[in-house]
Subunit: 262 residues, 2 copies
């Protein structure tokens, strides 16, 4: 990480109450080789728009399924805000998704049986991976710890991984760090749980704002464009907006680039 | 689980501050099919005595390596007690192992360079699996979520899994639940993180006392004997001491028994 001379992690950024042995000593930048590559998941590893719209189409033929998926997802970030600010106690993404689904159903004037609502909410656990994700992660994990660094919760991410065949080494989830990205502790606690320094952890993401927050916390960064995450008319995150440590075409390319490092 | 009619989980047993959606409704015993099989790890999945004594032998030729391993491990349970009782804030097992190693070195009159002490402490991340562990977990994960339910912390368990090739779906660790077994919350929070009811989670362990605590919290139970965990003269845990839901000869047998269920 050019220009970065020191990584400082204060007590509060660590898992509550725990000290981390490997942080006792101050290490030089040369020791900061990336040990773990953690991934933003929705949009970066899995294709939420295709997965959710397909699930919507299965339960309700009369609706514009992509529009429904976009509307449901549009409530995602605002619904986390009261939790981030502390106005609301921590609740899992499974619960926020469920509340947002209820609101989206009302917005579209839909009235589904409770069982179908519950089942639709679990569509987030059955999202399809992008074509390169499984192969890329399989390559990457030969030399690195791989896992999600997602606002999804542990149960959701575990079932998503089993359904999609994602070969994670470890799954944390926002209910483990108890912080929603882009709060700094979301990144710092993930590193601390792995007993790694922030720079030894790389966030790989298709979103420039996520990478900016990760870098601000001292993590290494990799950008992977996903130009159709938001459908054919996507305008944002089509290219890297900063000098991220790695810019890769997909997860397979990221694995090759990291393997080529000394 | 015969004779168990209801599973009640109070607020305090869930991850702090979180409600778990899947627990909203009261489910009947028929719904309590095992979804996840979580394993005690040290002794049940990996052979700590062989691994630690081999590591000791490598750094210090003049010591009885098995005696050293036994002495180090003997400090394990007592060192967690102040944390369990709340007299000491939570610290990870990596840190407790390090403190216990310092004490054991003193007990044996050994004075190693700091670097070798640090390296020896990481021997817990390089323990060999029992011969059936990898194959058994591979079979088991086809139909179940598999993971450790260990007093080890997340970083330690993640590196252990990579070194030993353990195909876990998810890794929690005691620093995620923030409780050391046999505290009830260690079992209950693991289930809650997976958004499962306790009976839908099975603890597999070579230790009767661990299974008793898991059952007390409502988990399903499987006993796997490891008659040489403590060496050739082992006297404890040679057989099941209660009517555990499953008694298996090893992890492969456990997978076959669970696969045979309807």
């Amino acid at each position: 990480m050019p220009g970065m001379l020191a990584v400082f992690v204060d007590e509060q950024s660590r898992p509550e109450g725990s000290r981390v042995t490997s942080m006792r000593s101050f290490r030089s930048v040369d020791d900061a080789a990336v040990q773990a590559v953690l991934f933003d998941t929705f949009g970066t590893v899995v294709d939420w728009r295709s997965g959710i719209s397909a699930a919507v189409r299965r339960v309700e033929a009369g609706v514009d399924a992509e529009a429904f998926a976009d509307a449901w997802r549009a409530r995602y970030d605002p619904s986390m805000e009261p939790v981030r600010s502390g106005r609301r106690p921590f609740v899992t993404l499974t619960e926020l998704h469920r509340e947002n689904l209820t609101a989206t159903l009302a917005e579209f004037g839909l009235d589904l049986p409770l069982e179908e609502v519950d089942d639709l909410n679990h569509a987030w656990e059955r999202l399809p991976p992008w074509p390169d994700s499984v192969e890329g992660l399989t390559l990457l994990r030969r030399r690195h710890i791989v896992g999600p660094l997602s606002n999804g919760n542990l149960g959701l991410l575990t079932r998503m991984a089993k359904n999609a065949g994602l070969p994670w080494d470890v799954i944390m989830g926002s209910d483990v760090t108890r912080r929603y990205k882009p709060q700094p502790e979301a990144y710092l606690r993930a590193a601390a749980f792995l007993e790694l320094e922030p720079a030894q952890v790389m966030l790989a993401a298709a979103h420039n704002d996520d990478l900016a927050a990760a870098r601000w916390s001292g993590l290494s960064t990799a950008f992977i464009p996903r130009p159709t995450e938001h459908g054919p008319g996507q305008t944002r995150d089509l290219r890297p907006e900063s000098d991220w440590d790695v810019v890769a075409t997909d997860v397979i390319d990221l694995a090759h680039q990291l393997d080529a490092r000394p």
